[in-house]
């Protein structure tokens, strides 16, 4: 099994940390993992993306141009990465702020209203965990106990009291993800 994922959105949305939690959890489950960020001039409000690979085998290239899954959180990233999903792959996006919805007919497309839901919960911080939940529902690669270990490892000890809230957000994401285009 090898899962090649791109997560892309605005800086400040928690794109990089979502990727890190995913990679750490994969590692806790004894998988090979890599996490390759866009780095540099991007900052809050700019674009940020990260490539995460989770595999049973040694990972060759951490840098890719085709992905099994694209998680897309803003319009610029939709423009950039919609065509980078492998045929038969999946695209998950939050429709909030999206003006041009995906048009591919050779992939499965899902939406997750994470921005709305995190606003409703009054906690913008769990936005990325709702997204992560949507991904884990569609690609159940990592068990809940390893997700917890991944959260423990990625969050500084002073934030460990927030782990249950994050786990709840993951569950919410799992329940809210909706398919909008189904591949025949």
């Amino acid at each position: 099994m090898t899962e090649e994922i791109i997560i892309a959105g605005f800086g400040g949305q928690g794109v990089l940390s979502m990727g890190k939690i995913l990679a750490y959890s994969g590692m806790m489950q004894n998988k090979e993992v890599s996490w390759f960020p866009s780095y540099g001039p991007e900052m809050r409000g700019g674009t940020a993306n990260v490539t995460v690979i989770i595999s049973d085998e040694r990972i060759s290239s951490p840098i890719l141009n085709w992905f099994d899954t694209a998680i897309i959180l803003n319009q610029q990233s939709m423009d950039k990465f919609e065509n980078s999903v492998k045929k038969g792959g999946i695209l998950i996006y939050d429709p909030n702020g999206i003006t041009r919805h995906p048009v591919r007919t050779d992939i499965n497309i899902y939406t997750i209203n994470a921005a709305d839901e995190s606003a409703r919960l009054g906690s913008a911080k769990v936005f990325n965990m709702i997204i992560l939940g949507a991904f884990l529902k569609l690609k159940p690669l990592i068990g809940a106990e390893y997700m917890r270990k991944g959260l423990e490892k990625s969050l500084p000890a002073r934030h460990h009291n927030m782990i249950p809230e994050n786990e709840r957000a993951i569950d919410i994401g799992k329940s809210l993800v909706k398919q909008t285009y189904k591949l025949n």
Binding site: S34, F36, P37, Y39, G40, S60, P62, W66
Partner: protein
Amino acid sequence: MKEVRLMKGNEAIAEGVIRAGCDGYFGYPITPQSEVMEYLFANKTKERTGMIVLQAESEIASIHMVYGGAASGKRVMTSSSSPGISLMQEGISFMAGTELPCLLMNCVRGGPGLGTIQPSQSDYFQAVKGGGHGDYKMIVLAPASVQEMYDFAKLGFELAFKHRIQVMVLSDGAIGQMMEKVELDEQVPRWTDEEIVKLHPWAATGKTPDRKRNIITSLDLNPVKQEIINRNLQKKFKHIEETEVRFEKIMCDDAEYLFVAYGSSSRICQKAVALGRAKGIKVGLLRPITLFPYPTKELAKLAKQVKGMLSVEMSAGQMVEDVRLSVNGAVPVEHYGRLGGIIPAPDEVLNVLEEKFIKEKLLCKTH
């Protein structure tokens, strides 16, 4: 079981030097490697092992602090990225002239000049052919994973003191910034002052009545003596060429075509090998781990087996010169590179290999 962590390449080399018993780090921040010093400070090395971490006023100051630390027989290092490493060249040449061991890390970014902060491999010539003045070489290690960023800290210090030479870890922005799994070893204790006196009789440790003064200088105005100094240096480099070559071969046994790539490019080529094999193309990868000494003999051997070699680097074609020297015209050698911080994709490099060697051949046959 060994302790395992998910780390950035830059953090891994920082943890690596602490655990390798490093005595001092002197540096100046620059993207994309500032995490090295950040990690060292955050990990309170002074309390952990007694290791000194100092932010110097410039790269020129850092390398000369390394010079001083090395002269006293300590395990010392600095790290920087391309423009900063350029500033250090004078100090590196002086360390070559005085045979002072040290560890250097260049997290290469695109140049020339300030260039970009994105990854590049355009400092190959500077690292391998001698960026400073004079006839000298450094041992150059090219990590292709975060684990190797960690491992080459310890290996780098071992080689540096074994041969009294500067060891450069030639990383790049991709290896430095990405996170992978790292297995950590036990802490190597720092040397005590007594151990340094015993292990490194050349070091400036304070003159005692039973020995002559140790003078560390690269200056000798007597040309006869200076030639002897240089011949001895060359003898050492030759010995290193004979004993310290390291490389990795992937799918080379039955290969008809070969990628030659180091560092992050080698990771991309590894995927290209898998993609090529899935299409029925017998392609392999030779990954030099040491760039000096270069795996010349291994490439010469492979030249008898393959029909063509494609050197892939994020540069305009630097390492390809060493590939060509190694095969000495026995097979066609081509170069493919991206510049200015662009990283090539696996299918992109495979396409180039097909274009350059396989499709052309088919065209010839139809004529």
